[in-house]
Amino acid sequence: MAKMLGPVRRAFQPWNDPSQPPFIEFRNVTKRFGDFTAVDNQSITVYEREFYALLGPSGCGKTTLLRMLAGFEEPSEGEIFLDGRPLTGVPPHKRPVNMMFQSYALFPHMNVADNIAFGLKQEGMAKADIAVRVEEMLRLVKLQDFARRKPAQLSGGQQQRVALARALAKRPKVLLLDEPLGALDKKLREETQFELTDLQESLGLTFLIVTHDQEEAMTMADRIAVMDHGRVIQVATPAVIYEAPASRYIADFVGDVNIFEGRIAHLENGGLTMTTAAGFTVEVAEMPQGVARPQAGETIWFAIRPEKMVISHERPPNATTNVIEGEVWDIGYLGDVSIYNIKLDSGDVVRATRLNASREVERPLTWEDRVFLSWRPDAGTVLVR
Amino acid sequence: MRRFTSFNLVALVFGLAFLYLPILILIIYSFNASRIVTVWGGFSTRWYVELMHNESILDAAWVTLRVGLLSASVATVLGTLAALALVRGGRFWGRTLFSGMVFAPLVMPEVITGLSLLLLFVAINFDRGFWTVTIAHITFSMCFVAVVVQSRLLSFDRSLEEAALDLGATPVKTFFAVTLPLIAPAVIAGWMLAFSLSLDDLVIASFTTGPGATTLPMKIYSQVRRGVTPEINAVCTILVALVTLGVLTASILGKARSPARTP
C-alpha cells in the first residue's frame, strides 16, 4: 500500500536541485488593501509538478497570493512569473492557470456537462472536441451518470468533483485550489485528499493549494509554506514542519504540542541542557536552529509533541533529566489513541497521548493517578522564537 | 472581491443624476423671484410667504394630514392582523380568497380601486367626504402593511416564541412580550409606508372624495393642469423636505435600535 503514503515521493525534491528552474515564482510581492498589508514583500518558488500548500489561519494572506496568481488581484509591488514569463497585466481569462474555488462557484444555471464545457467554449474549441473532453473529465471524476444534473441536485462531494473537472478541463499549467475540501465532511475529506494527490501525480500537474487545515496540507503537499500576517514563516516538507518547526507559532499551529519556557544551562556535544520555568531539566540532542551561537542563560523554548512522551506509573530507572511528574487531570478516549492531560506540581498542564495498542490494559491510567512522563533526548526540539 | 469599474461609476452617477436632478431643479425654482417658472429672476422666498396665506392649500394640507394619520394608523393595525392571519392563522375558511384580497390591491390599478369604492359608497348611500377617502386609503394601504409585516414574521425565529411559551407565558402575553417587539420595525415601516401612500394618493382620493374634503394632491393636480406655478414648486419643496426628513430620521432611529444586526 505504497499509495497510502500519498505525497511522500522521496525522489521528487526539485527544491534541492539548483539546476531546476522555478515554475511559479513570486518575486518580492506585496499586496495592500487600503492600509492593510495582506502580503508583505514575499518571494516564493514552486517547481513543476509540485504539490505546494499555503497553510495559515484566515487573513494570513494565503488566499491573496492565490488570487494574484489567478489574476483577480494585481500585486501592489513585485512580480509574479509563470514558466519564466511575467504575469503582470495579464487578465484572468488569459492566464494558463485554473482555479477550484472555495465552495466551488459552480454555475447554478448550467448542468454539470455545461459547467465543465464552459472553459473549453471560451477557447473556441470545436464542439465535437468539447464533447470528447467533457466525457473524459466526467470519467476522471466518476460522474458519467450526472452530466445532465444541475449543481443544486448534487451532493457536496459531487459538486466538489464537478468543480475539479471544470478546472482541469482546460488542462491548465497550474491548478489552484482554494480550500478545496473545506465544505466536505471528515470522512469524505480524507478520501478526497488521497484522490487529489493521485490525480496530481498521474496528470503531472502543478497544484497550488490554499488551506487552513494543517492535516490537509500535511497529507497532500510536497512542501508546505506556513504563513502568518502576510509573511511566509517556514517552507519545508510536511515532516520537517512537524518535527522541526521553525518557531513556537508553527509548532503550535501544526499539530498538538507542549511548549516549556526555560534557560540554557549549558551546551555540550552539539546538544544542550536547559532548565525550565516549571522546574525540571531537559536534555536535548540538538542545537536550536536560527541562532548562530546560543549562549548559556539565554531564554529558549522546548517543544515536544504529545505522542513522543511515555507515560508510566513508576519513575523510569536512573532518569534525572527528561522526566516530569504529575497527576492525571483529564482523559480523552479517541479510540485509536487516548489523550491524557497531566497536571504538574507547578500547575502547568501537559498533554500526552498513548496508543491503545491492545484492547485491554492491565493497569489502566485513571484520574488522579500519579504518573511520570519521560522522553528521549531527540524527541523534542528547542526553539528560539 | 467585487470589482467596481469605471462603467459602474458612470452608470451610478447618471442614474442618480436622473433620479435627483428633476427634484433638485424643482426645489431651486421654488426660490425663484420671477413668476415665469422657467426664467430665473433671483432668489426669493416670496412663494413660501404667499403659500402661508393661501387658505385653500392650507385647508387641503390639513385634510391630507388628518386622512394620512388616521388611515395609516388603522391600516397598520388591520395590516398587521392580516399578516398574522396569513402567517400564523393556519387553515381557515376562505384562506385563498383572503390572501388574494390582501395581495390584489397591490397590483390593482388605482383607477379601478377608486372607481369600485366610489360605486360602493354610492350603492350604500354613504355621504362622500373625509371618511370615504380615509376608508379608501385604509383599504389599499393595509395590504402594503400586511406584506411588509408578513415578510418580517416569516423571517424571524419561531423558537423565540416557543421559548416564551415554554417559560410559561400565555399565547396573548407571548404576542405582546415577544412577537410584537420583534416585528415592531416592520410595523413601524408599514405605518410609514401607509402614511406616505395616503399623502401621495391622487387617483383614489379623487374618486372617493366629496365636498369639503379636497386633499393636497388633488389641489396640486388641479393647479398643475393649469400650468406650472412657483407656488406649487414651493408646496412640493416643503413636501419633499418633510418626507426626506422623515425617512432619514426613521432610518437613523432604525440603525440606533439595532446596532448589532448583521444583514
Partner: protein
C-alpha cells in the same frame, strides 16, 4: 399557531381584516362587475339597485347585458386605448430596464460601506410624492423648459423640441417614476449573486463582457422579470403620467376610464373598461404572484 392558540384570539385576528377587505375590496369589485353588465345609460345613478334581495336573482341574471362590452369592441377608441396602453407600458418597461440594470449592477458592485447609502438614495425618491415627481418634469420638458434651454444654448438643436404632450414625455415620466421598482428587485438578485461565479468564468477564459452575458444576465432573470412586472403592471393602468405629460392623442386606458367616468359620466362603460383592464393584467399578475411564491418558498 402558538401565538394564536387561543381559539377566540385567532378568530378575531382573522375576522377583522377579512371582513374589512370583504366589505371594502371584494364587494365594490363585485358591484363594478355587476354595473358593467347593466344597461348603458348616461348620468348617475343610472343603474339598477344593487341590493334588492336574492328573491329576484334570476331576474337580475336575465337582465345582464353585455352591451357595454360589445360597445367596447365596436368603438375603435377602446381597443386602441388598450393596445396603446400595453405598447406604452412595454416600451417604458424596456427603457426602465436598460437604465435600471446598469444602475442596479453598479450598486451591487459598490463597496460594502456605501451600498446602504446607495440603496437609500434609490428608495428616497419613492417616498416623495409621485405627483411631484411627475410635475417636476413638466418644467423640464416644456417647449420653453429647461431641457430645451440647455440644448439650445449648447447648440445641439436650433429649434425647441416638442417633448411634452407626446408619448416620449409619457415614457420619460413612467421610467422616472418607476425606476426604483425596477432597480430594487434587480439589485436584490445581483447583490446576493456570488461574485466568485464571475471570477470562475474569467478564470475559465471568459472576457468580462462574456461573463456578464453568460453568467450575470442569466442569473438575474428573476430580478429582471420581477422588476419588469413591477413597472409594467402599474404602467398599463397609469393615469397621472399620461394626463399630465401626455398629449391629447396619448391614449391610455386609465385615462380613458377617468374620462368616461368624470366627463362622460357613463358608469357602466367605465366599469366595463375597468373589468377589461383587469383581465388584461391577470396574466402578468399571476406570473408575478407565482414568482413571489417561488422566491419565498
Amino acid at each position: 399557531m402558538h401565538a394564536l392558540r387561543s381559539f377566540f384570539a385567532r378568530r378575531v385576528v382573522i375576522a377583522i381584516p377579512y371582513l374589512w377587505l370583504a366589505v371594502f375590496f371584494l364587494a365594490p369589485f363585485l358591484i363594478v362587475l355587476k354595473i358593467s353588465f347593466s344597461a348603458t345609460a348616461i348620468a348617475m345613478p343610472p343603474y339598477a339597485p344593487v341590493f334588492d334581495g336574492l328573491a329576484n336573482l334570476w331576474e337580475r341574471v336575465q337582465d345582464l347585458s353585455f352591451d357595454n362590452y360589445v360597445w367596447l369592441t365596436e368603438d375603435a377608441l377602446y381597443i386602441k386605448a388598450y393596445l396603446s396602453s400595453v405598447k406604452i407600458a412595454l416600451i417604458s418597461t424596456v427603457i426602465t430596464l436598460l437604465i435600471g440594470y446598469p444602475l442596479a449592477l453598479a450598486m451591487a458592485r459598490a463597496p460594502d460601506r456605501i451600498r446602504p447609502l446607495l440603496l437609500m438614495a434609490i428608495i428616497l425618491p419613492f417616498w416623495t410624492s409621485f405627483l411631484i415627481r411627475v410635475y417636476a418634469w413638466i418644467g423640464i420638458l416644456k417647449p420653453e423648459g429647461l431641457l430645451n434651454q440647455l440644448l439650445l444654448s449648447l447648440g445641439v438643436i436650433d429649434q425647441p423640441l416638442t417633448i411634452i404632450n407626446t408619448n416620449w414625455a409619457v415614457y420619460i415620466g413612467i421610467v422616472y417614476s418607476y425606476l426604483p421598482f425596477m432597480v430594487l428587485p434587480l439589485y436584490a438578485t445581483l447583490e446576493k449573486m456570488d461574485y466568485r461565479l464571475i471570477e470562475a468564468a474569467n478564470d475559465l477564459g471568459a472576457t468580462p463582457l462574456g461573463a456578464f452575458w453568460k453568467i450575470t444576465v442569466p442569473l438575474s432573470v428573476p430580478g429582471i422579470l420581477a422588476g419588469s412586472l413591477l413597472v409594467f403592471i402599474p404602467a398599463v393602468g397609469e393615469f397621472v403620467i399620461p394626463d399630465l405629460l401626455g398629449g391629447s392623442d396619448t391614449l391610455m386606458i386609465g385615462r380613458t376610464l377617468w374620462v368616461e367616468f368624470f366627463y362622460n359620466r357613463d358608469w357602466p362603460v367605465a366599469s366595463a373598461v375597468a373589468i377589461v383592464l383587469l383581465l388584461l393584467l391577470v396574466v402578468p399578475i399571476v406570473i408575478f404572484q407565482k414568482m413571489q411564491q417561488r422566491a419565498s418558498s
